[in-house]
């Protein structure tokens, strides 16, 4: 099928979908498709030629809106491309649109968007997970080939687990964050959401690598496609006992079955322990709130974004910010409180210490094996409205995903073959060993088909 036909089919299918997964559609998609098709026809096309991508709406695409699913940025058009977008376009990837998400990435269910909740393609009465809700839903529903999400505490892996797709959060610094709207700067990382391991490896190969525009990007460029083909004979997988505490029985069983499949493919299975898992959520939230409140400081209504005049400068800022959603406001307030206390050397530094001890434990566990395995989420997708009224319960659902961010480690949610709602198996590797996750995931993919 020619790319323009493929794009036309997607463009027909998207408006018919009830998932509310897209915020903006690229108006030039058909023209772009023709351009790329001409390159394909003359054998001059890049590595992503033929791929149709969706981008989470907190990543800048020049000339398109960058809303972060917020009223604050409802009409903000990005004047520049994120580094990942530049790299995708350079390899002839076609961007079809920008996906729905939790407002400013604040949420684990996809329900906090100003544009309304995204629905789960497996069951439209259920949440798709968040915050990259749209990016996971569009891949699962076949509204594009692959997508990009961002992951601060599980925002790629949670919706991938709930929607039954592969979500990959690379090692912190592997992918430039330039153009990704800040949530918590020391935790944010962009990654692919795909149906297959080889697609994830390809997208990751295109977007990774050093970037002069992001100081935290590490100085390497890796080709991950080779990892998707390796055998896993002899690889050691540590099953983390604590990761199953409080986990749904059904999820536990599916994940343990998944581990068995890896074993049958040649992996060696060992039991390991990460006892500090319970402090990961409080450490994460303190850290994230503090950084988030700082990141949100620029949305004052003075330069761009929603503006409502007040009686003076401070009042105008306050009025403009009243456009933000409840969860965003809650996090800004908590973060502001924490950073004010920080002046007296209290909370943020303490959270950073807790973070350091978790990183230490995770890496110690990874000295004993190549990969850590467990569930991505302790449960499957819950019903819309079930948890949104109880922020603490919602926060606790991140318990298994935040450790990877706190430790800077790569982690992926691998979709398991299950009956009923999708379940994801989470694999962690040590810093820079992203490839190991890919070849274990590929082995599972081969064996389960």
């Amino acid at each position: 099928m020619k790319l323009n036909e493929k794009v036309s089919r997607y463009l027909e299918k998207i408006p018919k979908s009830k998932l509310n997964a897209f915020i903006s559609i690229n108006k030039n998609a058909e023209k772009d498709a023709e351009k790329i098709q001409r390159k394909i026809d003359t054998n001059a096309a890049g590595r992503l030629a033929g791929y149709v991508l969706a981008i989470k709406d907190n990543i800048a695409v020049s000339g398109m809106r960058l809303t972060c699913a917020s009223k604050m940025l409802e009409n903000y058009v990005s004047p520049y491309d994120a580094t990942v977008v530049k790299r995708i376009i350079a390899e002839d990837g076609l961007i079809i649109g920008k996906t729905n998400m939790d407002e400013f990435a604040c949420g684990a269910s996809g329900e906090t968007s100003y544009f309304g909740a995204t629905l789960n393609p497996s069951d439209e009465k259920r949440v798709p997970g968040g915050s990259s809700s749209g990016s996971a839903a569009v891949v699962a529903a076949g509204l594009c080939d692959v997508s990009l999400g961002s992951d601060t505490g599980g925002s790629i892996r949670c919706p991938s687990s709930f929607c039954g797709v592969l979500g990959f959060k690379p090692t912190y610094g592997t992918v430039s964050r330039y153009g990704l709207v800040d949530m918590a700067m020391s935790l944010d990382q962009i990654g692919p959401i795909t149906k297959t391991v080889s697609d994830a490896a390809l997208v990751l190969s295109v977007i990774n690598g050093s970037d002069g525009m992001d100081n935290t990007a590490i100085k390497t460029k890796e080709d991950y496609t080779k990892f998707a083909k390796q055998k896993i004979t002899g690889i050691k997988i540590g099953v983390v006992g604590e990761f199953f505490d409080g986990c749904d029985h059904n999820v536990e069983k599916n994940v343990r079955d998944g581990v068995e499949i890896l074993k049958s493919e040649g992996a060696k299975i060992v039991d390991v322990s990460v006892p500090k898992t319970p402090i990961a959520v409080p450490a994460y939230y303190l850290n994230m709130f503090a950084e988030f409140s700082s990141a949100m400081q620029k949305f004052d209504g003075l330069k761009y974004g929603f503006r409502k005049e007040g009686k003076d400068l401070n009042d105008t800022v306050a009025e403009s910010r009243s456009s933000l959603g409840e969860e965003v406001k809650r996090r800004i307030l908590l973060g502001t409180y924490i950073t004010m206390k920080e002046f007296r050397g209290k909370w943020y530094s303490t959270a950073l210490k807790a973070r350091e001890s978790i990183r230490h434990e995770m890496r110690a566990a990874l000295k004993k094996c190549d990969l850590l395995a467990g569930p991505t989420m302790p449960f499957t997708a819950f019903k819309l409205g079930d948890k949104i009224k109880d922020p603490v319960e919602m926060y606790l659902s991140d318990i298994l995903t935040v450790s990877a961010n706190l430790s800077g480690l790569p982690a992926a949610s691998v979709p398991l073959e299950v009956k009923g709602m999708p379940v994801g198996m989470q694999l962690h590797a040590d810093t820079g060993s992203d490839g190991k996750i890919l070849f274990a995931a590929a082995a599972y993919e081969r064996a389960s088909k």
Binding site: N58, I59, A60, L66, C68, L73, Y76, S78, P79, Y80, A82, R177, Y178, G179, L180, V181, D182, A184, M185, S186, G212, M213, D214, N215, T216, A290, E291, S293, S294, Q297, K298, F299, D300, L302, K303, Y304, L313, N314, V317, T336, T339, M340, E342, F343, R344, Y348
Partner: protein, 454 residues
Amino acid sequence: MKGVKIGLEIHEQLDTKSKLFCACPTDYREAEPNKSICPVCTGQPGSKPFGVNEKAVNAVIKIAMALNCKIVTNRPVQIRRKHYIYPDLPSGYQRTSEPIGTEGELNNVQIHEVHLEEDPGRFFLREGFVDLNRSGTPLIEITTEPVFDSPQHAREWLEKLASVLAYLDVTKKEEGTMRIDANISLNNGSKVEIKNINSFRNVEKALAFEITRQEDLLRRGLIVDRETRHFDEKMILTSPSRKKETEEDYRHMPDPDIPPLLIKKELAEKTKETLPELPQSKAKRFVKQYQLSGQNAENMVSDPYTADVFENVAKTVDPVIASNWFVGQLKKTLNYNSMTLRDSKITEKQLASLLKLVERQKITERAAELTLREMVLRPEEPAKIIENLGLLEFGDLNTIVKEILDKNEKAVNDYKTGRKEAFEYLVGQVMKITKGSADPETIRKALKRGAELK
């Protein structure tokens, strides 16, 4: 002044080609408003700092070294965010580094610390207009201990500091880039901070006003509030700022986008080796090497360009004569025209030629002065200026004096018998011919000498 304690915070722009965290040029003065900008320095959603401009860090290290600071090499130096909301601050926080140098000293004034920070944009309140060209320009902040005991002391020291910065050649040369915050307390009372003063003279004026204001309050038994005030240049008074913020409100935190700076000991040591001779030691050397008075030496070294020109001129002209001219007539003439020696474009060769004529008494001081006045405006070889202006050289004066003496034998004899009017008559005759290009004192000397030979 008794009980007065003044401390200063000096902000000066560093002379780097690009901004502190992005690649935009820093020559915003020449650019149209909002042209030297990019997503980073305008705080667009998703933009990130590229890293810390290394040249700016090196400049701060150099200045810290010249101010005899200890360079922080034993621990990472964090870049921190200071949060506040103002239209000229696009990201809602200002990035400032932790101290890079500490415990310094210059001219018996203790330096508390020296660090790096970014300049915000500019907000024109009346027009309601923001220009972000300046946003992200690197600044150094120098903080002194509260050791000044008078406004004058503060101003004099600021001049010394400006001189050191001029020698280091790593800060912006344009006028008005330096901004000063001054804090002052009387008798260990509340500390009042006066923000954003734009010149040394205004620092002195603002502090003088503040002392009067606080003394007046205290005399009446009132309390001096701990507060931030602004200096009104036109009214010459300070008034309280509307915004009241505590340190807690700034929510200082390490910037997660920027790994801390690690300053290597070797870099600090290497920087020390590249420091130029600084004004204090240069002045000492001038006194020793050229036998100048301490005052002349200090005066000349305050501007590195002048000091260099002097040294070159002193190769061919008597240094004492030259220095007297540098701090005397030359300075006076330049000040009168509000220019520096560099602005005047007078060459070393021109100056040396002129001073050689003075040294060899080829021209009168008066003629030299007039030549200099012309030279400052239209630099040229002094001989040519002397000719163009019709000024006299010494040889000419002596000829004229001889002529007058010969013509007026009676007056000469009267003078010799003690009649003062006769001498004044002779002086008048010479002045008439020389049309003011020789000063009366020189004429008198020449006449006396000439008459005695008769």
